[in-house]
């Protein structure tokens, strides 16, 4: 049996009383692209920093290539590249100096990076024409590109990208997408991608991990996330009245212009009609809607938040 590239079990990290990551589990195999998604403060950066060996787990286990990143960080970094956001760079150095000197930091057994490799990486991220300019003159997007160039050399087995599309223009985002797809096709690289841009995640990833308040709330394909959160869209004779009744019945209704949307995971149309008819409200129109990734994610997050609130009230 092959060991997963990333193996995370019961991973917990606390900062004082706050739990940033709570008993997280994740296995990522070779050649997979996994998206890491969640609102601000959900624990994404904490997870990436623990993978990079910057933070020590409070409890649980994390291993990359079978190595503990906290105690064997240098060995992990022989095969993994991390690109953190916002990109930390040396302001007084040029783009080429960054790539040249940082890729020279390697162990003997690692492949040597030639000037041609550096040229290729800079061309790939669209910085070749600015290679001799100091980083202090770069825009945020250009810094992101340089960070990506650094992450590509020498070729890693695992690439971890933290918000790689931040600050990039639409064309650069398309280019990044194509670079990552090419990389996977050419080298079978494993990529973990943390992003706010769900379109990006939908286009690229095989699986996605959704975190909320340090907890894993979903792990699966984008299709699976969407299929579990189908919506029933209604138009009724009295929208306000219907909304109020559905809300009182804890059916989590949402107003969308002149429609009401309801999560279809635990409610049937018969139940809704049974609730509205005695109040003299007619259902004029209804249809089942398969949500986009963003809607599905929002629905999932909302559901988690409601469940947590209910649990807190009950507790």
């Amino acid at each position: 049996m092959t060991v997963p590239l990333i193996q995370i079990e019961e991973l917990t990290r606390r900062f004082g009383k706050r739990t940033a990551l709570d008993q997280l589990g994740l296995h990522v195999g070779s050649g997979e692209i996994v998206g890491l998604v969640g609102p601000n403060g959900s624990g994404k950066t904490t997870l990436l920093k623990m993978m990079a060996g910057f933070l020590k787990p409070t409890r649980g286990r994390i291993s990359l290539f079978g190595l503990n990143p906290y105690t064997q960080r240098a060995a992990v970094m022989e095969q993994a590249r991390f690109a953190f956001a916002p990109p930390p760079l040396f302001e007084s150095l040029t783009a080429r100096e960054h790539v040249k000197h940082l890729t020279r930091i390697r162990r003997r057994e690692m492949p040597r990076v030639s000037p041609a490799d550096i040229d290729q990486a800079l061309v790939r991220v669209g910085l070749f024409h600015r290679q001799h300019d100091k980083v202090k003159t770069f825009s945020f997007g250009m810094r992101q590109r340089l960070t990506l160039a650094l992450a590509l050399l020498p070729k890693p087995r695992l690439l971890v990208l933290d918000e790689p599309t931040d600050g990039l223009d639409p064309l650069a985002i398309l280019e990044l997408r194509s670079v990552l797809k090419d990389l996977r096709r050419e080298t079978g690289i494993t990529i973990l991608l943390s992003s706010h841009l769900l379109v990006e995640v939908d286009e690229l990833v095989d699986r996605m991990l959704v975190l909320s308040e340090g907890k894993r709330i979903f792990l699966g394909t984008p299709d699976e996330l969407c299929s579990g959160t189908e919506i029933l869209e209604l138009n009724t004779s009295d929208l306000d009245g219907a909304f109020s009744l559905l809300e009182k019945a804890h059916m989590n209704p949402q107003r969308r212009k002149n429609r009401i949307q309801l999560p279809l995971d635990s409610i049937t149309l018969q139940e809704i009609i049974k609730l509205l008819t005695p109040a003299g409200i007619d259902v004029l129109e209804f249809h089942k809607k398969r949500p986009g990734l963003e809607e599905a994610l929002l629905a999932r997050l909302r559901h988690e938040s409601n469940a947590r609130e209910s649990a807190e009230i009950a507790g």
Binding site: K49, F54, P88, S92, R104
Partner: protein, 278 residues
């Protein structure tokens, strides 16, 4: 090679250039002080024109010794604290430390490369300061034998004289010995740099700490504490300018300074090795 990258960064930071200019400015002020002193205190008996054979008390070697003595007390520790404080805390604040940590590089290599660069920087600053002091002394005052009398420098309890060649040799020996002394405040600033998140805090606190310990070491009231303070040993290199060099005492003082340096470095390394990057 991290050492090449670090050297390039230090060079591009313009810190060496600023240090050079600051030391030159300090020497100019010292020179001005010398002229003023000669005119007002000696009643015009001393001639400051270029006179290579000038055998009077004030000559270029005396100037160089005074300049180095006062510079070593305050100016050089400031540069040591600045360099040491900027190293780890600077990279932590700008998060560029993550760039290193994201490469196959152990923390010990990062730490000791940074310290080596800072220590070599300190050696260069000391050497540069000595060389410029002597050159300025030669061209503006003139050389001769080095005569030291009991007084401001507290170097001797009786009048002493060193021939010009012998004095120059002693200045040469002062380079490594003074550098060794400077490594102690440098390692102290490394210790604070590995704790602080801002380089300003690391530099400020290490300099304040140095000043405090220096003042305590100088005040008679705290004489019981002196043996326990590294600042009371830092001027051990002054023994080089006595007619008979007190090698044994100097060796003891140097060993004490090395002990402090090793202690500060060990604590700094332990902190750097075990700390988390949040």
């Amino acid at each position: 090679m991290i050492i090449r990258l670090e050297l390039l960064r230090v060079w591009r930071s313009r810190r060496p250039l600023l240090t050079g200019f600051s030391l030159l400015f300090f020497l100019m002020l010292m020179l001005l002080g010398f002229y003023t002193y000669a005119r007002t205190e000696t009643g015009g008996d001393v001639d400051f024109r270029y006179t290579y054979e000038n055998e009077s008390y004030f000559n270029g070697l005396t100037f160089a010794l005074y300049a180095f003595y006062f510079g070593f007390l305050l100016i050089l520790p400031i540069f040591a604290a600045t360099e040491g404080g900027a190293q780890i805390a600077g990279d932590t604040a700008s998060r560029t430390l993550n760039l290193y940590l994201s490469r196959p590089l152990t923390r010990s290599r990062i730490f000791f490369t940074k310290f080596t660069i800072a220590a070599c920087g300190a050696a260069l600053v000391v050497g540069f300061f000595l060389a410029i002091s002597l050159a300025l002394g030669l061209f503006t005052v003139g050389w001769g034998d080095l005569r030291i009398y009991p007084g401001v420098l507290q170097m001797t309890s009786r009048p002493q004289a060193l021939s010009q060649d012998e004095a120059l040799f002693r200045f040469f020996l002062a380079w490594p010995t003074a550098t060794l002394a400077l490594l102690t405040p440098l390692s102290l600033s490394f210790l604070l740099s590995s704790w602080a998140k801002s380089p300003i805090n690391a530099v400020g606190i290490s300099f304040a700490l140095y000043l405090m310990l220096y003042v305590i070491a100088e005040i008679h009231f705290f004489r019981e504490l002196r043996p326990w303070l590294f600042t009371s040993s830092m001027s051990y290199w002054r023994g080089l300018f006595q007619e008979e060099i007190p090698w044994k005492t100097m060796g003891q003082e140097a060993a004490k300074l090395c002990g402090f340096t090793a202690l500060f470095l060990a604590l700094a390394f332990r902190r750097f090795r075990t700390r988390e990057e949040r």
